[in-house]
């Protein structure tokens, strides 16, 4: 099955094809009565996974499900029903129940005009992978055995998760809007630990294409990190020069590029890190180091994500930050028309690519007199929405760098730091690479940052 004929019909439907989605949606639209507007949102998906810990399989699953949301809107009164069945009776009943909810919902007198649903033309990223779709349960088990074997042979214990999935996302509205897009995704993450629980290493990655994931390399990295994490020493908390590997960068700074954080209206209402106060955002101001550029584009071949959301919002390509200057924040189509006199919205999907440098991590280490090398962060939470001051822990590999060399493993730290501060204290930037963030494809570089706040010791490994 190829991407092109996928759009026509599946040979073996593990999820709803374009034709099946359209049939379901049309049944819903046609059974609506009583005026107003009807809409249907469908996410039909299949996923296969295998999870293991202590070198033994815990679960191996094959999941198929459908999220179908039926919406009715009559003079601004809204009713919505979710279901996962698509037989005629269920669909008809869902419409009836949505209409009953409309009756018990207040009409929105501000929305009593028949405002049509507007469908934008969306991009068509190549995010369908045959190797993801065809990775069978037997192959997943075989991969797991192979990945765990290297840990067993080395006397370590491994835990991990491999998942491949495929989905069709569709939106239909009574005004005639109709969109469907199929996509696949794949992820692999592995933790290797010493049997005495004193050392741990982690590696992971996700992509739409299982064929682009080198699971053996992931396993080898995790194993090596564990091996070199043995016998960690305790260091005094404080501010250190830190080299954050790409995964650590993603774990720590991604909160700056979430849809909510990038929301322009929020910033103009004096919320979040990009607010200037008095109804203005920081658009036009330098907010990060001058080398940093942040973009999102579903057509980015390394990023690739569905071109519209479950609700039907089309993701247009955007540059959020250019050479450290905030050039855009996310806004809806309505905001674009009413405030900017533009015709397209600029919604944020949460996916992003951060670029700006090309220094190898080895070179960063070699130029560091004393600092810390961080694999990743865990449990990062935001303490303050304006400065984005966050706290969390280092985990699965932390090392001391002395005189240009990694010298010893270090006990984990609690961190208390602002990603805004971090992205303004950069010494070196690496080559951007895809990291593990399955919900939002993310491409970030390693960075070397001055005065990173390691605020306390942590006994976690």
């Amino acid at each position: 099955m190829t991407h092109s004929n996928f759009l026509i019909q599946f040979s073996d439907s593990r999820f709803l094809s374009i034709q099946e989605c359209e049939d379901v949606a049309r049944k819903v639209i046609n059974s609506a009565s009583g005026g107003g507007k009807a809409g249907v949102h469908i996410l039909a998906y299949w996923s296969g996974n295998i999870r293991w810990s202590r070198n033994i399989v815990n679960t191996s699953g094959d999941i198929r499900n459908n999220h179908i949301t039926v919406t009715r809107n009559i003079r601004g009164a809204r009713g919505a029903v979710q279901l996962n069945r698509f037989d005629d009776t269920s669909l008809r009943v869902s419409v009836e129940r949505a209409e009953r909810l409309v009756e018990s919902s207040s009409e929105d007198v501000d929305a009593d005009l028949p405002i049509p649903y507007f469908q934008e033309v969306h991009s068509k990223p190549a995010i369908w992978s045959e190797s993801s779709y065809n990775l069978s349960a037997q192959e997943r088990a075989s991969i797991m055995r192979r990945l765990a074997q290297s840990s067993i042979e080395s006397g370590f214990q491994s835990a991990g998760y491999v998942e491949v999935s495929a989905a069709g996302q569709a939106v239909m509205h009574q005004d005639g809007a109709w969109m469907y897009y199929p996509f696949t995704s794949a992820q692999c993450s592995i933790t290797v630990r010493s049997k005495d629980g004193s050392a741990s290493g982690w590696a992971g990655i996700d992509s739409h294409d299982w064929g682009s994931i080198n699971a053996d390399r992931i396993s080898a990295i995790a194993l090596e990190k564990c091996r070199t994490s043995m016998n960690p020493v305790r260091l005094e908390p404080g501010r250190y020069t830190a080299i954050l590997e790409p995964q650590a960068v993603s774990d720590f700074v991604s909160s700056l590029f979430l849809p909510k954080t990038l929301d322009r209206i929020r910033a103009e209402l004096n919320h979040g890190p990009y607010t200037q106060g008095d109804g203005f955002s920081k658009i036009g101001q330098q907010v990060f180091d001058g080398r940093i550029t942040v973009r999102t584009d579903c057509m980015d071949p390394d990023m690739g994500f569905p071109p519209f959301s479950y609700s039907g919002t089309v993701y247009n390509p955007a540059t959020w930050v250019e050479n450290g200057t905030l050039v855009n924040l996310a806004y809806s189509r309505s905001y674009a028309i009413h405030n900017l006199w533009l015709t397209k919205g600029l919604p944020a999907s949460g996916a992003y690519r951060m670029s700006g440098g090309s220094t190898a991590i080895e070179d960063m280490i070699a130029t560091t007199k004393r600092g810390l090398l961080v694999t990743r962060f865990w449990g990062v939470g935001i303490l303050d929405e304006f400065s984005m001051l966050s706290t969390g822990f280092t985990r699965d590999g932390l090392w001391l760098i002395e005189h240009g060399k990694v010298t010893k493993a270090v006990r984990n730290f609690r961190i208390t730091e602002s990603p805004l501060h971090t992205l303004n204290n950069i010494e070196q930037l690496g080559i951007p690479q895809r990291v593990f963030r399955p919900e939002f494809p993310t491409i970030v570089p390693a960075i070397k940052v001055r005065d990173f706040g390691f605020s306390g010791l942590s006994d976690a490994i």
Partner: protein
């Protein structure tokens, strides 16, 4: 059942408009008979111009009951936002009668003697919504017995008074009775007494009942002059409210008497500010030069696009022999135009097109809410406004559209330039009334109030 009441509280947070598929509608439902149900003893809801009503009465189940609470809350919030006048045939937009029956059927199982303090307040609210006087009284009595101090009691009484005032005109007598009880608590409850009267004053201002306005305003002036200095700081922002009300009544009764009221206001607020240790803001600019303008001739309305309600492009406004009501309408229609729409329809019932011209003035914004294909040039936007007011809402009103000058901010936003020329030489906001001879009768830059407009139209 207490469980039902408890279920009201978390759903305020958890329930949006989305309910799961297992929302029980048919099963366990109680069908109410509106005409024979003994619990329903309320005046009929004619529903005139009260679009957006909720009708829960058809489906009563525990799930419905839990849905009623937050929905009612939404209506209350929206009612506050629209500042809609309470009318006798409608309990007010805040509490549509058609939903009262459903709430009543939900609450009838409550055992209020076992409720906690928070739940008591909520039960009091619900009792108020369903206009169950015995339940209101019982709830408040239990609530008061649990208060340990004068401060607690005065706060509960204040809450009850505010709720009565907000709920409906029918509850004003209860508010007045509670106000007497609050007054009997004496000096420690001075601030609560002032707050209660402030809400009462706002209510009478909405209805423009001039005797009541004067009475309550004088009460407030009297009480606020007796405040202790430490209390004055709390009240200083509100100290000018009674004077504004007196000025507004004075403008109607005797415009030439405004200077005396202004002088009194300045003198008393200066003393208040000195005692409070902080200056009190005196902003009464709109009243200062009005006496000289009232009665003067106004020029014809000039607009970039003028769409007469009778399609006669030669008509100019004001027309001799007809009164003229000019309303400046926000860019954001239909948002926030709902109450104006209802008001215009009601006014037109009493003043047809032979007696009164109504002109709606709007400035261009660059877009219209129901045009989702993109921004609009002024000509298209003007036509869109005409379509909305005259064709869609079918208002017998002339639409005058003025082109706005825009500035592009550095962040790309298009914002309107300040425009001081406006209509009749005043900033383009508010309400203007012109008599049959083309003389200015009333001009206000505040919110549009039907009661005030009707009072002025009534004596033309």
């Amino acid at each position: 059942m207490l469980n039902i009441l408890r279920s009201f509280i978390p759903v305020l947070i958890s329930l949006g408009f989305l309910l799961p598929l297992n929302f029980a509608v048919g099963q366990n439902a109680v069908e109410l008979n509106r005409t024979t149900d003994p619990r329903i003893s309320l005046p009929a809801d004619t529903g005139r111009f009260v679009r957006g009503r909720i009708d829960f009465s058809r489906y009563i189940s525990p799930a419905t009951c839990s849905f009623v609470g937050p929905s009612m809350r939404k209506i209350i919030d929206r009612g506050d936002f629209y500042d809609t006048l309470p009318y006798e045939d409608v309990v007010s937009l805040r509490v549509p009668l058609s939903s009262v029956q459903a709430v009543e059927s939900c609450i009838r199982e409550f055992d209020i003697d076992t409720l906690s303090l928070d739940q008591l307040r909520y039960a009091f609210d619900v009792a108020l919504w369903i206009q169950n006087d015995s339940l209101i009284s019982h709830t408040k009595k239990i609530w008061l017995t649990q208060s340990a101090s004068i401060r607690d009691s005065s706060n509960i009484l204040l809450y009850a008074i505010l709720s009565f005032i907000k709920s409906s005109p029918q509850r004003l007598d209860l508010a007045t009775a509670e106000l007497s009880r609050l007054d009997s608590l004496g000096a420690p409850a001075r601030l609560q007494r002032l707050s209660a009267r402030k809400q009462l004053l706002i209510h009478w201002n909405r209805l423009f009942v001039r005797d009541k306005i004067k009475e309550v305003a004088e009460d407030i002036i009297s009480i606020q002059s007796s405040l202790e200095p430490e209390e004055m700081g709390y009240w200083s922002r509100d100290a000018n409210i009674p004077f504004f009300s007196l000025l507004e009544v004075g403008l109607f009764d005797n415009p030439s008497g405004l200077p005396q009221i202004l002088n009194r206001m300045r003198a008393e607020l200066r003393i208040f500010g000195e005692k409070a240790g902080e200056p009190t803001g005196i902003v009464a600019m709109k009243f200062i030069d009005l006496p000289t303008k009232i009665g003067s001739k106004v020029n014809n309305i000039r607009a970039d696009y003028l769409f007469s309600y009778n399609r006669d492009s030669n008509t100019s406004y004001p027309q001799l022999g007809k009164s003229l009501l000019v309303l400046v309408v926000s860019h954001d229609v239909p948002k926030s135009f709902y109450s104006d729409y209802a008001m215009i329809k009601r006014i037109r019932e009493d003043y047809d097109t032979t007696k009164l011209d109504i002109v709606l003035i709007q400035k261009t914004k660059g877009s219209a809410r129901w045009h989702t294909d993109g921004p609009l040039n002024p000509e298209r936007e003007a036509e869109a406004s005409r379509w909305y007011f005259q064709d869609y809402l079918k208002l017998e009103a002339t639409v005058a559209v003025l082109e706005t000058s825009f500035t592009k901010l550095p962040d790309g936003r298009m914002v309107a330039k300040p425009d001081e020329s406006g209509i009749f030489g005043s900033p383009l906001i508010g309400t203007v009334i012109v008599d049959r001879n083309g003389n200015l009768v009333y001009k206000d830059i505040g919110i549009v109030r039907e009661s005030v407009i009707r009072a002025y139209l009534g004596r033309l």
